[in-house]
């Protein structure tokens, strides 16, 4: 498959771009910045090519119409598309705001998402479509959903940066909030990395969550390992909490104004929210009605989308009508994205492992 070669290339480019963006904020050399942007653009271009190639492969293989063959039908393809939207959004912002510092925060999200594909060992094969997915609504629903997810991801990174920049006191709620969040995030990624190292040879994508996820840490057979895992997580959270000021120093070094961060956070939500409402909720409902005869059935995926929608509605109302500002509202924005991640991954990976309902 031609496409996988270009996916690999884009992943490498994004990881390198991440490193160079971080070097750039440390040394602030123009040439380094241009290199970072060049790498990001190169990664984006090869990813675009890879998506188009995969689309073609899918089209030739499935024998369905070109619109129905859009490669957005499984977790792998949707993560790729999410990263693509995120990088597109970031590159537009970089050119508009003429500020590269932010790249050091977006490229890691892109790189982690792509690494997650490798870590989880999910299937990267082109899979035939089950009958319910053979609909033109797939294109409209899934593309718009992911465009909105990407906008929310941007608001998450700027919201988190806002919190890092504006908090100082270790006993303050907002400081504890972001350090705990970042600490847990890092701990979960490390735990998954351990699973990967331990089970990579035995792993199959369908059974990954049930058989392997967190089996070398939180869900280990040995209670000692479980206790150590939780202790290690607590220690990591503590470390982030104790030394959070270092991160603050790094970001303040970027000449990123707190007000700009707040504005970007709001603007991303203002773009993401209507698109999510239309593409995620409304188109999803119309499609469900066409396929199953119910536009709303309170299944976990739908309910989590609604929870996400309510959190961002909360954000907009609190900001405009209650005059919530600064740290308080930035926390709401970051919580919103946690709900997005859960809607997108948690429902498929965790709740479907817990429940017996089919993956529809």
């Amino acid at each position: 498959m031609e496409s996988s070669r270009f996916f690999g290339l884009s992943e490498m480019a994004y990881i390198l771009a991440m490193v160079v963006y971080v070097i750039h904020i440390a040394f602030r050399k123009k040439a380094v910045g241009v290199t970072a942007t060049g790498l990001a653009v190169f990664g984006f271009a090869s990813q675009t090519l890879a998506i188009l190639l995969r689309w073609r492969e899918f089209y030739l293989l499935s024998g369905m119409g070109i619109l129905r063959s859009i490669p957005l039908t499984n977790l792998f393809e949707s993560i790729i598309f999410f990263v693509w939207c995120l990088m597109l959004g970031y590159l537009i912002m970089e050119f508009r705001y003429k500020n590269r510092s932010f790249g050091a925060f977006v490229t890691p999200v892109a790189a982690v998402a792509l690494l997650f594909i490798n870590l989880s060992g999910m299937s990267t094969q082109i899979e035939p479509l089950v009958p319910a997915l053979q609909s033109n609504w797939l294109l409209a629903h899934v593309t718009l959903s992911f465009i909105s997810y990407s906008a929310f991801a941007l608001s998450f990174s700027t919201g988190l940066m806002y919190l890092i920049v504006t908090t100082e006191d270790r006993r303050e709620g907002a400081y504890i909030f972001w350090t705990v969040m970042l600490g847990i995030f890092a701990a979960v990624l490390m735990a998954m990395g351990l699973d990967y190292i331990r089970f990579s040879s035995a792993m199959k994508s369908e059974t990954f969550v049930r058989d392997f996820l967190f089996k070398s840490s939180y869900e280990s057979g040995s209670s000692a390992v479980r206790v150590i895992s939780y202790a290690a997580t607590a220690a990591l959270v503590f470390l982030v909490w104790r030394f959070g000021y270092i991160l603050k120093k790094v970001i303040t070094g970027f000449n990123m104004q707190a007000a700009t961060l707040d504005e970007i956070t709001y603007k991303s939500v203002a773009v993401g929210f209507p698109i999510f409402t239309l593409g995620g909720l409304i188109f999803g409902a119309i499609w469900a009605n066409q396929a199953w005869g119910v536009y709303w059935s309170w299944d976990p995926k739908e309910t989590w989308s609604l929870i996400t929608w309510f959190i961002y509605a909360f954000y907009l109302h609190a900001r405009f009508l209650r005059g919530w500002k600064g740290r308080k509202i930035a926390m709401v924005a970051t919580m919103g994205f946690v709900a997005v991640i859960f809607t997108y991954l948690g429902v498929n990976l965790l709740l479907s492992g817990l429940h017996s309902y089919g993956s529809r």
Binding site: P128, P274, T277, A285, G293, V294, T303, I307, H355
Partner: protein, 515 residues
């Protein structure tokens, strides 16, 4: 008394209430996604055991059950929360509408010079030429970015041009809020005047009732009543009229009783003529499946249509959706449909049951259908076995008796045409094994769905206007100056200020420099 009502009103219209409702709906819904809704006791005990441990699971179940979390989206408190949400939306909209209406209708007025300088967007510059000579040009410059200006002379010479655009965009927020009420109304219409049901129809079977998805099967009394009401119907061969008579009831009375136990009578019949599955290549993954459905009125066919996933059938407001399929437990009534071809090329379509025999035209061979297997596979010893619960690989075993009395037998597999040919050059092609599969249909009636769709359109439009359009106002003041005309440009725009600033920049270039 009045102050009490005022208090209630201001509570119901408060944004604080809205925010509290958002948070409560979101938080309680999380619990509803972890607990499997409308599931059996053992299912949720399993879920709870993996969360709180086996010991605590029954207690946790009891507590959550008492709070209504096992069917929480229909529980009284969740519905109250949603109603409160609707009331809050309605009261908020009524409360704030007059103010917004005034802003939308208010004409833009000239403002004082120093007030212009305090506007969020402002610019001042001097261009050669008198204000009078610039007047017309200024009007057309404003026109070029879409503003129709009105003019007013200030005392002492200066002239002010002012205009506004998209004042109506202030209503976007309203439309978005009202649309949610429209969607909720549509949902209520669906709940009260529609139904959600299912029916499981084997090939060749007809149904005139469907079963409700919302029936609570945990009440033994209801279940027993349902059994007896359905029993009467079965013993009268599915005739609703006769079943009503046998129970000494009127037909409407009997139908009402049936509805109360989750059985929905249709005023027509549906027949499943045929069911087909198509697989991806030689795999067992279904690519498409479809049912040939006929609607009958008083036994006479009126509509016949193939339905498949994403392509339902609609009749008299009732929608039939292809949702699942299964293999019947009893395979004895199946009919093999075979294309039999003689060595000389003569073909004939035969319908045979297992145990029946036939002869191939032009030969002296007799063929007996010995066995049917819906999912044929062979084990290590070469014995036939059934590998799946579905009809994934239908095959018939035929015993062939030659003209000389020689016996042989072989499996004819639908999926593999190479198994169809016989040694003497004739062939038996298995096209279907009819009557052993059943199609699962979701049956819905929802007269509220168009109201919901209307609400969705309004929501999309409202959000678009609310987030991407804004009420823009602009003032241009032309005052006489020693070097010509002093221009003061001021503007307001609640959203997307940068885009508006660029437009104004475009307009200003027309006003700068020589006349």
């Amino acid at each position: 008394m009045k102050s009490f009502l005022d208090k209630v009103w201001s509570f119901l219209s408060s944004i604080k209430l809205a925010i509290v409702i958002f948070a409560l709906v979101a938080l309680t819904s999380i619990v509803g996604t972890v607990i499997e809704q409308q599931a059996s006791y053992s299912e949720n005990i399993r879920v709870l055991s993996s969360l709180v441990g086996q010991g605590l699971a029954p207690t946790a179940y009891k507590v959550l059950y008492a709070l209504g979390f096992m069917n929480m989206y229909r529980s009284w408190w969740f519905l109250t929360l949603l109603s409160l949400f609707a009331v809050n939306l309605l009261v908020c909209s009524i409360d704030r509408f007059p103010a917004i209406w005034r802003i939308m209708r208010a004409p833009v007025k000239p403002i004082a010079h120093d007030q212009m300088k305090r506007m969020p967007i402002k610019e001042e510059f001097v261009s050669p030429g008198s204000p009078d000579s610039w007047l017309e040009k200024s009007v057309s410059a404003m026109k070029s970015i879409g503003f129709t200006a009105r003019t007013e002379k200030e005392a002492g010479g200066p002239v002010q041009l002012f205009a506004q655009k998209h004042a109506w965009s202030r209503s976007g927020v309203y439309v978005a809020h009202i649309s949610i009420l429209v969607i909720l109304i549509g949902a209520l219409v669906g709940v009260f005047f529609g139904f959600r049901g299912y029916v499981d129809l084997p090939e060749g079977y007809t149904a005139n009732i469907v079963y409700s998805n919302d029936m609570d099967m945990s009440d033994p009394g209801q279940v027993a009543r349902r059994e007896s009401l359905l029993g009467a119907l079965y013993s009268e061969g599915g005739d609703l009229q006769k079943a009503a008579q046998s129970l000494n009831e009127s037909l409407p009375g009997y139908e009402k009783d049936l509805r109360s136990v989750g059985v929905i009578p249709l005023d027509f019949q549906v027949l499943c003529q045929q069911f087909q599955v198509q697989f991806y290549g030689q795999t067992d993954m279904p690519k498409a499946y479809r049912s040939l459905i006929t609607v009958l009125e008083n036994g006479k066919p009126v509509v016949t249509k193939w339905i498949e996933v994403n392509h339902p059938l609609k009749y008299k407001g009732v929608m039939f959706y292809q949702s699942s399929f299964r293999l019947r437990h009893d395979l004895s009534n199946g009919v093999a449909i075979m294309d039999v071809r003689s060595p000389s090329g003569q073909t004939e379509t035969l319908k045979m049951k297992v145990g029946q025999s036939f002869s191939i035209p032009g030969t002296k061979e007799t063929v007996r259908l010995a066995k049917f297997n819906p999912a044929l596979a062979f084990d290590d010893q070469g014995h036939a076995e059934t590998y799946s619960q579905l009809m994934t690989n239908p095959a018939v075993k035929v015993d062939i008796t030659g003209p000389d009395g020689a016996q042989s037998s072989k499996w004819i597999v639908q999926r593999y045409p190479e198994t169809w040919s016989l040694p003497d050059g004739s062939s038996i092609g298995l096209t279907d094994f009819w009557g052993v599969q059943a199609t699962g249909l979701q049956v819905r009636k929802d007269p509220g769905v168009w109201i919901v769709y209307l609400g969705c359109i309004l929501l999309a439009l409202g959000l678009y206007v609310a987030f991407f359009m804004s009420h823009k106002k602009i003032w241009v003041r032309l005052a006489p100056d020693k070097k010509g005309t002093l221009f003061t440009v001021a503007a307001t725009c609640p959203k997307n200020r940068h885009a508006f600033e660029r437009e104004i920049e475009k307009m200003v270039t027309h006003l700068k420099g020589g006349n």
